[in-house]
């Protein structure tokens, strides 16, 4: 990709046509990073949310502190540590993976809250009925609570995905060539910034709109039967 950075700047139109395919390639990276991050956030968040409800303070207290810290400090700096400090302990992940995991971890702090709200919104009676049936805690989570919580949290999780799409430009700090970073690089080469940045912005708008639409479709497609809607 880097090799294609010689772009035709002879006219605005030529420039635009030269930039667009480059940015579209960057967009693939953007979307891929967001999706991978989303998987991390969706899984880790659920794990944290369940752990967070543990009755042992030995577990919840450090977890809350960790999540709060992850949530309240800039991703930029977290990325730096993951990217440069982890290798000192022998863990060398590719930049793309590091970035996606970092975004995913940061968002897991949000998704954990979302899942928690989703789990807590489930009537206490469900817990009590399951206990009365002598089901184990793991079973109650796995069979009764989480299956009911998931459909409720889909919209909020969807918003997280869209949010993550827009966080990906930060990955440029660890040399991941996502779309906005590419736009800036093209600008640095040619000293024409407005066109690549604006196209990147528009592409981002299109992608987020498409994702929002898809999320709405998923929401509508959720089973209506058997699930109490609020």
């Amino acid at each position: 990709m880097a090799s294609d950075l010689n772009v035709d700047t002879s006219s605005t139109l030529a420039f635009l046509l030269a930039v667009l395919p480059l940015l579209l390639k960057g967009l693939q990276v953007t979307v891929a990073a967001a999706l991978l991050g989303f998987v991390v956030a969706a899984v880790a968040g659920l794990f944290f949310a369940v752990l967070r409800r543990s009755s042992s303070r030995l577990i919840t207290w450090p977890l809350v502190a960790f999540l709060e810290f992850v949530r309240d400090t800039p991703l930029l700096i977290q990325l730096f540590f993951l990217y440069y400090v982890l290798p000192q302990y022998g863990i060398v992940l590719p930049a793309f993976v590091t970035g996606a995991v970092a975004i995913g971890l940061q968002y897991s702090a949000y998704t954990a809250e979302i899942y928690r709200a989703g789990i807590e919104a489930i009537a206490k009676g469900q817990w009590e009925a399951s206990t009365a049936l002598n089901m184990s805690r793991a079973r109650i989570y796995g069979v009764v609570i989480i299956p009911q919580a998931i459909p409720r949290v889909v919209p909020a999780l969807g918003n997280c995905l869209v949010g993550m799409l827009k966080e990906t430009p930060i990955l440029s700090t660890i040399s991941v060539l996502e779309m906005l970073n590419l736009a800036v690089i093209i600008g640095d080469r040619t000293y024409q910034y407005t066109i690549p940045l604006t196209i990147a912005g528009i592409l981002m708008l299109v992608v987020t709109s498409v994702f929002s639409y898809l999320i709405r479709l998923v929401e509508l497609g959720l089973p209506k039967r058997g699930v109490p809607l609020r």
Binding site: P87, T173, S175, Q192, Y193
Partner: protein
Amino acid sequence: GTLDDIRARGFARAAIHNEPPYAFMTPDGTAAGVGPEVMTAVLKRLGVEQIDWVVTPFSTLIPGLKAGRWDVVAAQQSIFPERCQQVNFGNPTSTAAEALLVKAGNPKKLHSYDDIKNDPTAKVAVPTGSVQLKYLKAYGIPDDRIVLFSNHADAPELVLSGRVDAYTIEDAAADLLLRSGRVKGLEVADPFKIPVVDGKEVISYAGATFKKEDTDFVEAFNKELGAFEKTPDFAAIMDKNGLRPISAKRALAMTAAERCAGK
């Protein structure tokens, strides 16, 4: 024109980004480095005594210039043809030759771009948007062994963390970095064969940047710059900032117009 505006206003607005020794803001708030110091001297000769300095990320230097947020950029930006279509350059005041920073002891024995190319495990980092990328490509080094970084401060970490084996840097910046003693565990690859692209040793030429339409300003600037370059003050600036004598000597032999034409 902009020069008239500056004179009417009484002060100039100039932008830099932090890249010692070419331009940087000292912690006490004055701009220093080759670019700002030359700019200060030349503007003084043009009758402008006072300059407002702005430090801003590299990528915003030109948009800010075009938007009229500042009058001139004194960040010693490299002059090459694509850029000349968007802005005007003053005549070059410094040149830079390529150097390579590697881990102390140069474990992979990298002494030229060819060495990088020929070692399939060697990875190299370059700044985003830089010409070095073009050179590496010209040598046929594949994309997956090139890592782009956006901030010079990231580069030592890249090498020290083992993510890359070397990074390209301009000789003067490398000298400064090593002399400062702040980064341990790195060294300049020595000897290093200056890369050759299209049959020429690659040297980058850097100067002040002006708006496209400010031709009269550039002319006036170049005129006073020519005069200033003959004074010992100019040589003192280069010396103070640790540039090798060859750097300015090469620069004075070239004009911006020639560089823009691809010479």
